[in-house]
Amino acid sequence: MSGPVSPVKAPGRLVVAVPYLWLGLFFLAPFVMVLRIALSDAATALPPYAPHFEGLAALRDFLAGLDLENFGLIWEDPLYWQSYLYSLRIAALTTLIALAIGYPLAYAMASAPARWRAILLVLVILPFWTSFLIRVYAWIGILRPEGLLDMALAALGLSDQPLRLLNTETAVLIGMVYSYLPFMVLPLYATLEKLDRSLLEAAADLGATPLKAFLTVTLPLSLPGVLAGSALVFIPAIGEFVIPDLLGGPDTTMIGKVLWTEFFSNRDWPLASAVAVVLLVVLVLPLALLQRARLARAGEGGGAA
């Protein structure tokens, strides 16, 4: 039955109004700002953008001053769209590798005896709580020439040549997968752990080999987890800045890094804003897919109720 009693109106409204106001002021308004500035011309003065809002009277002049020049620049200069494409490539590769590592890990965790599971779960979450920067920094020490990896390989007699991995795409991928792995493992574990053991027993009872049972029962039922985990890795990976900056090199320019450079080094705020707007547009598609998957799942849940 719907429509239970709503608490007395006044506190109820306050509960909505306070966060609403905050978000309007510090999320929506800045957002509109980005759009506005993306449509302005670059200027050398600080703040480095023009034109300025000067009352409603100037609105017409302001609108006349808006143009798509910055977007044109992004379109024409291959640097920009190449780095967009490159970001998508890195994000996709990161997602695939994280899935390849994360699925067996999550599966093993879900298969572990119940009393271990809580500990294993904390162990997966714990690195997430340690600083992002530290986790990336740790890999610099490992991957740099004559770093721990080279030392280990030399000690094992496998290779005495430095691998020169730092500042390559491989290093970026390692750093990305490392940082985002918990986001992949957690939703996967959540779906696999909930999976009813008797389903596999039923499959075996009906003559399926363990592999067949996995392919026909476990895998399809864990797809929501795969989808959620992939989205949680893919979406933030596109806009990532710190990892490509610290582990990557000149040929691993991701879009987050471009935005950062335009903003801090070139001080071109309108162009940086335009880059941000395009980045958001790139994100809309995977987000819409994620939302659809969520809605589909919510629909399944609602059907049972």
Binding site: M1, S2, V5
Partner: protein
Amino acid sequence: MRKASPGSVRRAFQPWNDPAAQPLVEFRAVTKRFGGVTAVADVSLSLYPREFFALLGPSGCGKTTLMRMLAGFETPDEGQILLDGVDITAVPPHLRPVNMMFQSYALFPHLSVADNIGYGLKREGLPRAEIDRRVAEMLALVKLDGLGKRRPDQLSGGQRQRVALARALAKRPKLLLLDEPMAALDRKLREATQFELMDIQSELGTTFMVVTHDQDEAMTMADRMAVMDHGRLVQIAPPDVIYEAPVSRHVAEFVGDINILKGRVESVNGDLVSVTTPLAGRVELDEEAPALSPGAPVLVGLRPEKIALSHDEPAQAANKVRGEIWDIGYLGDMTMVQVMIGGDDGQLLKVSLTNRSRRIERPFAWEDTVWLSWDVEAGLVLKP
């Protein structure tokens, strides 16, 4: 109503038949809709002080909504609700002198048993000592002395139910609402608890309103009950009247088992009605002031326990019919026999036999040809 109501225990208490009695609760033409669904349709109902009232109906019939409107969790779309003559339709739940025992018990898991029971008293701003005294009193009432310090999850299901009851009674409400109070208990415990609840109710004199889908529960405890269906109150009467004189086929079939025979009125002679049925021939029954005219189509209702079974044709029976036994279900205390009358394409009638003897070999067997018989006081006439 029937001349005599057998099995009546508390017949002295009948405020609903006293025109001078002041109702405690009055629903006046109350309607409640959720979206396009009408959960409660034009319900008018009066409850009287000290009454034990049961609201019986299948799930989704609107009984819970009716109760939640009384507690203040839902607001009627139309109509009024009065308590002690005062309109409480718009009064929020925390200001109503009505308390509720929730189906899930809704015990606060972070509070001890004593703090749960004292929660409402604390909200009234009573002094600590008074709260402690009342909590101890309530614990004694529900026989949980000494368990005040426990947490709800350290209690058994039956104990939790008692805490919920004590908590709801602690504020000494004028009216206690009980939402499926026995639903979470197993059968044995349920029966014992029903009688305890009745004792507590008569001890305190509080008006109780129980919502349940369990007819045994309603019939055991209630002074009066209402059968609800699709948002409407179909019949309001004491349990024995509901069972022996249901107003409709729906009520007759919802409360207890009943065999229904189709027929036409043949004659009406004072209180004696004769009905011709295609399968059981002429059926005679005793009906008070029947408003029936010959030729009208009617249904004859026959409760299984009111039919006798024999191998030989009974010599002196008002009604009798021959049939063949198709099924025998042994239930321990009684045996339910299904008898086919009117040939293989006829109708199965249920007959219940009380197992008075420990003898295992039973007098009837499958495919036996038997006689069913019943007297004029057994059948009842229902509108088709």
